[in-house]
Amino acid sequence: MRQDHLITATQLSRADIEAVLDRAAEIDADPGAVADRCQEAVLALCFFEPSTRTKMSFETAIKRLGGATTDMGTVESSSVKKGESLADTVRVVEGYADALVLRHPSEGAAKMAAEFVDVPVINAGDGAGQHPSQTLLDLYTIRDNVGLDDLSIGIMGDLKYGRTVHSLAEALTNFDVRQHFISPESLKLPRSVRFDLHNSGAQLREHTDLDEVLPELDVLYVTRIQRERFPDETEYEQIAGEYQIDADTVAAAGDDLAVMHPLPRVDEIDPAVDALPEATYFEQAHNGVPVRMALLDSLLAEGSL
């Protein structure tokens, strides 16, 4: 189906996802072939929250397609500081750019922005909502390592507020995937995500203990449990400690586990895991470039997803 924006993972069919991943693989194999696909295109970067990977990989992606960026800068240095609404900001910025990448602290921000502008909007994170371009690179990484069907994936950590989790879980319902959600009680999946997963017929189970399910996993997707989610420091340290992994965790898993993380990590993956063949999180971060190139190529050069 023709789509002008990328707002949520639920809008993506299996065919949509596979088209982007196939294109990303082609680009990855021969990046020079697309060096002028988006010549003269300008991508606006509107980041109302900090970002390293998402922002830089979008920037690299458009440059490798022959385009350029215009960057709103930080909220502190922009007219948002003067009280400008998001609706006004995006209507101004669409006059400067051919597409808009938006990260915003409010859920639904990208959906609303897309209603105010005619250029494509890519949701690069809306509060605790969605982060669909991250999902595409996650799926690319999973497909590359273990394939996307007949798969058991464990998604662990902050499932309540983790936008990468919400998007990934919803996108995975397009494939033959058993999803295991591992978290403390207080950070379980929100009702709205369960609703979508249930409607999509997802195969899901919930756990509070990773050991229950570790041996049967092909992929373990770890996310950060944030300190500010807990009322006190002691509770945070006690709970977060139960959801950290190290080399022993990896050893206790089945063969060929792929350990993923959207990054940044703090201490939920011990650095000793980095050198193990199971660690795929830096590869995952690098995949952001070809996948976002494929996405921008579709939206800008082809005109739709």
Partner: protein, 153 residues
């Protein structure tokens, strides 16, 4: 009919909303944006005995014929409601309420972090789903006590 029997008078022209779930009449008026300041004659009967519902509320609005789209929203809190259009004391039209596909600008999203609560120039929009209503923007689902989310503005 004596005064003892007559709880709510007949109206000449307007709309009678009957079979409203007991206790929901004021919320029905709130949904319709009627607070008395319009100068319309409004009569409300609450917890009136009903064969079908046990007890029901009745709302009569004089000199205003409500459109189907206006009344459909009532179905969210009063699914059994019937709408009677009255002209010259006669019922000229009688309809049941239907569940609407969406509810626009009526409810506020309980998610404080939703973009619709961020002083943006956007109306709230909820899709009607099996479990209740769902914010089109942030996905938050309201299952119960819908009337408590009616935006007073």
């Amino acid at each position: 009919m004596s005064d003892r029997e007559l709880r709510v008078a007949k109206i000449r022209n307007g709309t009678v909303i009957d079979h409203v779930t007991g206790g929901q009449a004021l919320n029905v008026l709130s949904i319709l944006g009627i607070d008395g300041s319009e100068g319309l004659g409004v009569s409300v009967g609450m917890n009136v005995p009903s064969d079908r519902l046990g007890r029901k509320d009745v709302v009569k609005v004089e000199d205003r014929e409500l459109s189907q789209s206006e009344v459909d929203v009532i179905s969210l809190i009063a699914p059994e409601a019937t709408i009677n259009i009255i002209r010259d004391y006669e019922v000229v039209e009688k309809n049941r309420v239907d569940r609407p596909e969406s509810v626009i600008g009526l409810l506020s999203c309980p998610n404080r972090n939703c973009i619709t609560n961020a002083n943006e120039p956007v109306e709230t929009r909820f899709d009607v789903v099996d479990e209740g209503v769902r914010c089109t923007y942030c996905g938050t689902i309201i299952r119960e006590a819908l009337a408590t989310h009616i935006d007073p503005e």
